[in-house]
């Protein structure tokens, strides 16, 4: 009996989102105690297995062992020349059988949600997306908490299905290691795939976007409706530049066409997790806040002391960003210029 977790790779290691999904999977596996019949026999919990797509040599075995994985499957096929959602799901369906998986877990990334949705459709079972926690109840069901509205609302739910298919709301779970690292076995696995399984297969573009990435920036300077128009972002960009950060904007800004959508922070834009988020002229609608829940510190600059953003912020300046930000830029320049 196993909890099987899809692990995505990033630069040769396990992706951070997948390490979080592994921590979630480990908790789920550990929750499967013996049924409350008074008997104490049986192993405490289930084992944790991982599936990685690619050659066995590319499996980040140490990181997986540290996360508590006892078996890692390296799924590889001549037919798989790149990421193919349906093929990944077919392979995981086979491995779920091989490993007697009671649950299959993936990070709620584009790929994770997509592959598990295919797996759900193949196997005809429900799938719970964006879970924050999950544990086995004595009756064998999964009791879980999942995100709605991108985390602005929580749903307590019961998942009655085998296997339980779950994706993990990455912001809600920390990538903690296991108390005791597992002894890991890496097994190469050849899934049986046909042409239809690989008909949709990704090629990766060679182009990389330059500059500081919004998703990983240490500082984000945000601008909202209060900026007033497309010409008002100069000072915010300058501030972002001085702080080595990126410019982010609210949905109203992209809907008006003031800035490109790729700069949007929010439920339908980019999720950020900076050390500092400076939200300027942003009211704090839940659509926006869903994108910056992981910011360590939020400083709001707003004319309205009752704006919702003030209740989410750690610090606030009450005032017009068009006066505050240029003055701040001047002060920072003076500071940088002085010996």
């Amino acid at each position: 009996m196993t909890v099987l977790c899809l692990v995505e790779l990033d630069g040769g290691g396990a992706a951070d989102a997948s390490l979080r999904a592994l921590a979630f999977s480990r908790d789920l596996a550990a929750s499967t105690g013996p049924a409350s019949t008074g008997e104490t026999a049986g192993p405490a919990g289930e084992s944790l297995a991982a599936v990685v797509f690619g050659p066995a040599a590319g499996v980040p075995a140490d990181a997986l062992a540290a996360a508590g994985v006892s078996v890692a499957y390296a799924a590889e096929s001549d037919r798989l020349t790149g990421y193919a959602p349906l093929a990944w799901a077919r392979a995981i369906a086979e491995l779920a059988g091989v490993s007697s998986a009671t649950a299959v877990v993936a990070a709620a990334t584009d790929r994770g949600n997509e592959v598990l949705a295919h797996l759900a459709a193949i196997t005809g079972v429900p799938m719970a997306a964006n879970c924050a926690t999950a544990a086995r109840a004595p009756d064998g069901t999964c009791r879980l908490v999942r995100h709605r509205w991108a985390g602005s609302l929580l749903e307590d739910a019961v998942l009655d299905a085998s296997p339980a298919l779950l994706t993990v709301a990455v912001d809600a779970v920390a990538a903690t290691p296991a108390a005791v690292p597992a002894a890991i076995m890496v097994n190469a696995y050849q899934p049986a795939l046909d042409d239809a399984d690989v008909a949709v297969c990704a090629t990766e573009s060679a182009e990389r976007s330059g500059g500081v990435s919004l998703a990983t920036a240490r500082v984000v300077v945000g601008g909202g409706r209060g900026v007033g128009g497309p010409e008002g972002f100069g000072a915010l960009e300058e501030l972002a530049g001085l702080l080595g950060g990126a410019l982010g904007v609210s949905r109203v800004v992209t809907s008006q066409g003031w800035r490109p959508h790729k700069q949007q922070v929010g439920q339908t834009g980019t999720r950020i997790s900076p050390e500092l988020y400076m939200a300027c002229g942003i009211s704090g609608a839940i659509q926006h806040m869903a994108g910056c829940l992981s910011a360590k510190h939020i400083v709001a600059v707003n004319t309205d002391p009752d704006a919702p953003i003030i209740a989410h912020a750690d610090y606030a300046v009450i005032g017009d960003l068009n006066q505050v930000i240029p003055a701040l830029v001047t002060a920072l320049r003076a500071r940088a210029g002085s010996p």
Partner: protein, 272 residues
């Protein structure tokens, strides 16, 4: 090019979500309704494709009778037909929703209008965020599928019979779909017909024109009553996350706050 776009009526939430006292729904007494943002972009994308290649956009929703309002909003943007799969207002799960959509697609394919060349969805509904209805529909119909698309190019076949031919043939109708992947893009080529879900940012939806609004007001919306089915993921309770109920420390007012702001940035270690 015959395109189906599936949309969902969702509450228009602003500064906070309020749950009904029984914990089963979002309290919408004080809010309006809208279409999930990704889906509005799906409608815009479909309208742009038919403006270029000809054809018709059908917009479909599953929801209560009032969801006809959202269909009319989308008709005002340029969709030609509306289909309402009317429910009694209960929340439908993704399995039953996908089954009802699949039935509607098959019903249309069996009729004089024939099937769709392209089925567009939003990547996920703004409220339930289940991330699976498009994939389930694709499986039920045996169509290729990709999700989360931010850029879509459709190439038309010289004759419609070309659809379904080998992707390598070049002449077949196909879609090239791109999505963001870790600072880069992944690119998918699909033969049509296909199911594609898109994300906001793929385009900037237009505002409805006055003639569009008038046309939408008069449009006849086809209605069906699919049968509800429960499923294995059961909602027990909705609740607002335990807020840290922060009270921001006020650093000051206007430009006078700048010295305090600089000190704070210094303390946070973000000044180089």
């Amino acid at each position: 090019m015959e395109i189906l776009v599936c949309v969902k009526r969702v509450p228009m939430v602003g500064g906070k979500v309020v749950v009904t006292p029984d914990g089963q729904d979002v309290d919408t007494r004080m809010s309006g309704f809208t279409v999930s943002p990704h889906e509005e972009c799906a409608v815009e994308e479909a309208v742009q494709i038919t403006e270029r290649l000809g054809g018709t956009v059908t917009v479909l929703t599953l929801g209560p009778a009032e969801a006809a309002d959202q269909l009319r909003d989308m008709l005002a943007l340029g969709a030609g037909h509306g289909v309402l799969l009317e429910t009694d207002g209960r929340e439908w799960g993704p399995i039953a929703t996908a089954a009802a959509i699949t039935d509607a697609v098959r019903r249309r394919a069996a009729g004089p209008d024939g099937g769709y060349d392209l089925l567009l969805f939003g990547n996920e509904a703004a409220d339930t965020g289940d991330y699976q209805v498009p994939v389930r529909v694709a499986h039920a119909l045996g169509l290729p599928c990709v999700t989360g698309i931010k850029n879509l190019e459709i190439s038309e076949s010289p004759d419609r019979a070309g659809a379904g031919a080998n992707a390598g043939a070049g002449a077949a109708a196909g879609a090239r779909a791109r999505r963001e992947y870790r600072g880069s893009e992944e690119i998918f080529d699909l033969a049509l017909p296909a199911v594609i879900s898109v994300k906001e940012g793929i385009n900037l939806p237009r505002y409805p024109s006055l003639p569009g609004r008038l046309r939408a007001k008069r449009a006849v919306i086809e209605q069906f009553q699919p049968e509800f089915a429960g499923e294995g993921l059961r909602k027990e309770m909705l609740r607002v996350p335990p807020g840290e109920s922060k009270r921001a420390e006020i650093l000051g007012t206007g430009a006078d706050a700048v010295p305090a702001l600089v000190r704070l940035l210094d303390e946070l270690g973000v000044l180089s």
